[in-house]
């Protein structure tokens, strides 16, 4: 077991750290959560700067360890969050890198890295959330295109996305996991309508997407026709396995800020609260170790994260909620003030045990795939 980094890795870390220290102070203020065009421009702008400084390829050309260092350092420095680039950089991109043809990689990956295009994820449907493979959006082959009709829901960033990783049913007669296909849908294609949905945090974070006879070229298919479930599992393993890794560091930063705040307002003298923060410290340290453990496992097995992602996702999503509940206790009545950043973060943390697969579904995955328990109904 080795937790030290190679000289090359340390050099990468030092270079990145120095660069961040130089550019972060001059960054413009972040746009308000409701200003979607502003947020898109801001998030893409940040990605563009990373690209121009030579840090964009960490997402799928570098080793998992380099990528981890990248996430660690950017979060530690308080650099902008991936935001609208979440899907493109953290799971659609890695999926195309792992499963796409050379032409597809050439076509879609550089624009993501250069901060030119935003992706969204069209997996869930009104009648197919946890039971993702029950999706009904139909795609019928017509010459060199699929004609897609149906609807998607809770599609994050759909309003500002250029592309969508879309799951469609190409063979309605096949068993439900067999007839699915993974497509890249251009969001400006005729027949695509986006209707924003308001989240409990008040912002239009996600949307409904209606697809009416939308033509998607066959060349946009990643993986084989009807083999989309296999590709989906790759996407989900990135989404659960590595996409949240950097956030653990951000949570550790917040925890440090909480301690500062608690000492300032006197709450630190309450042993129960202080020890609760101590316990959260243990939690996030352990989650970071678990991340390193999983990254090392992925590195040993060729890059795609395994079921360890479900273990991580389960623990992390609950820990994040506990963190912001503790923040509320540190803040006292101020936790009801929407202008305190922790208040919004606490609200958004409520989604973590739901989005990317609910905790109940992750528990079932752990029970069946890791512990080998019989399938339930």
């Amino acid at each position: 077991m080795d937790l030290t980094y190679t000289p090359e890795e340390e050099e990468f870390r030092a270079r990145l750290r120095a660069w961040l220290a130089r550019v972060l102070p001059g960054l413009p203020p972040r746009p308000s959560p409701d200003d979607w065009p502003g947020r898109r421009a801001y998030d893409l702008g940040w990605q563009r700067r990373l690209h121009d400084a030579g840090y964009a390829d960490v997402h799928w050309d570098a080793s998992p360890t380099i990528r981890l260092i990248f996430l660690e350092e950017t979060e530690r420095a308080g650099a902008p969050y991936v935001g609208a680039n979440f899907v493109g950089l953290l799971h659609a991109g890695p999926t195309i890198a792992a499963e796409g043809t050379p032409e597809q990689r050439e076509r879609w990956l550089p624009p993501i890295l250069r901060g030119e295009q935003v992706w969204c994820q069209g997996f869930s449907e009104p009648e197919a959330g946890s039971d993702l493979a029950a999706l009904r959006t139909r795609a019928r082959r017509d010459g060199d295109a699929y004609v897609v009709t149906g609807s998607k829901i809770w599609t994050s960033h759909a309003e500002v996305a250029d592309w969508c990783e879309l799951l469609v049913r190409t063979d309605p007669r096949a068993p439900k996991h067999r007839g699915i296909t993974w497509l890249a849908l251009p969001m400006d294609a005729p027949g695509v309508t986006v209707r924003p949905l308001r989240t409990l945090a008040g912002s239009a974070e996600f949307a409904e997407v209606f697809l009416d006879e939308v033509r998607v070229p066959v060349a946009n298919r990643v993986g084989d026709e009807n083999d989309g479930w296999r590709v989906t599992l790759v996407t989900l393993s990135f989404e659960r396995g590595t996409a949240f890794a950097g956030e653990v560091v951000a949570c550790r930063r917040v925890l440090g800020e909480l301690a500062v705040e608690a000492r300032k307002n006197g709450r630190w003298d309450d042993p129960a609260l202080r020890r609760r923060l101590g316990r959260l410290h243990a939690e996030f340290r352990a989650l970071w170790r678990l991340t390193q453990w999983n990254v090392s496992a992925a590195e040993a097995s060729g890059g795609v994260p395994g079921t360890g992602g479900s273990v991580f996702k389960l623990r992390y999503s609950h820990a994040r909620q506990e963190l912001y509940d503790a923040a509320a206790d540190v803040l006292g009545a101020d936790c009801l003030d929407l202008d305190r950043p922790w208040t919004l973060d606490r609200l958004s943390s409520l989604s973590y045990t739901i989005a990317a697969g609910t905790s109940q579904i992750q528990h079932t995955i752990v029970a069946e795939r890791i512990l080998g328990l019989p399938k339930g109904r």
């Binding site: 077991m1 410290h281 340290r285 453990w293 590195e299 273990v311 528990h363 029970a367 512990l371």
Partner: protein, 301 residues
Amino acid sequence: MRFRLTEDQWALRAGMRHLLERRFDREALWGAVEAGGSGRAGGGPRLDRGLWRALGEAGFFALRLPEADGGVGLGLPEAALVFEEAGRALLPGPLLATHLAAGAVPGAATGETVVAAVDGTLVEWLAEADVVRGDATGAVPLRSLDPLTPLHRVPARQPGPRGPVAALLTAAEQLGTAARVCELAAQHARAREQFGRPIGAFQAVAHLCAGMLVRTETARAAVYAAAVTADPVDIAAARLLADEAAVRGARDCLQVHGGMGFTWESEVHLQLKRAWVRTHRTGGVTESEEILAAALAAGGA
């Protein structure tokens, strides 16, 4: 960074597991339990000196002693792995005190001398020990909850043996318990049928088992990392999570076993009782939480 077990570490762990399966099988476990009787004060289980020497020969106690001093010359990560195995097998005896005494107390390293230590207000295995570290004057036997760990109480609180290392190896033993009870629960959930199917097909049971695995694997990452860094804050985190994984895991395992879990014959209660005993060693919940909180206050999340 390669945060995986090396080949040598895999081999070491497998070797220890094999040794314990051979020298301390379920029959030996139950023999030890029965020898302890019903936990009469002053009575309790006897230590198997032959097994103790076998552990000594296998390097259990001398593991971290430099080769120049007749030790094995390995480090904290390796010690954590063998203590995890000991925890898993419910191996009885003052393992920690003797391991920590290797090099300082003659005969401890080889398993010739059995060493006990005062830890807080408790001493494990006092009556069977050849040497006691700390002041055990006025020690009074108590009727130990764990039939495999005889306990004495001393009048005044004393600091436990060598702080962070003791806390870490205790965490490693707890990890062994957490992993074992998770396995036992999953085995039982696959085999036991009710309502015409294995109980593991019921989500309430499956999710209980999955929760055990998540706690175990999180604790594992924390314990192994703390063994690598030997950082006191990492160790406090490992201890907290491992204590929780062991105690809650054993309780959930008992629940999964139903009435069977509440009988003397099942191994589950032994795991739970041992886990409880270990939580009282130095570096437990309150202490660990305060260490972690102090580190936070000092700006080191």
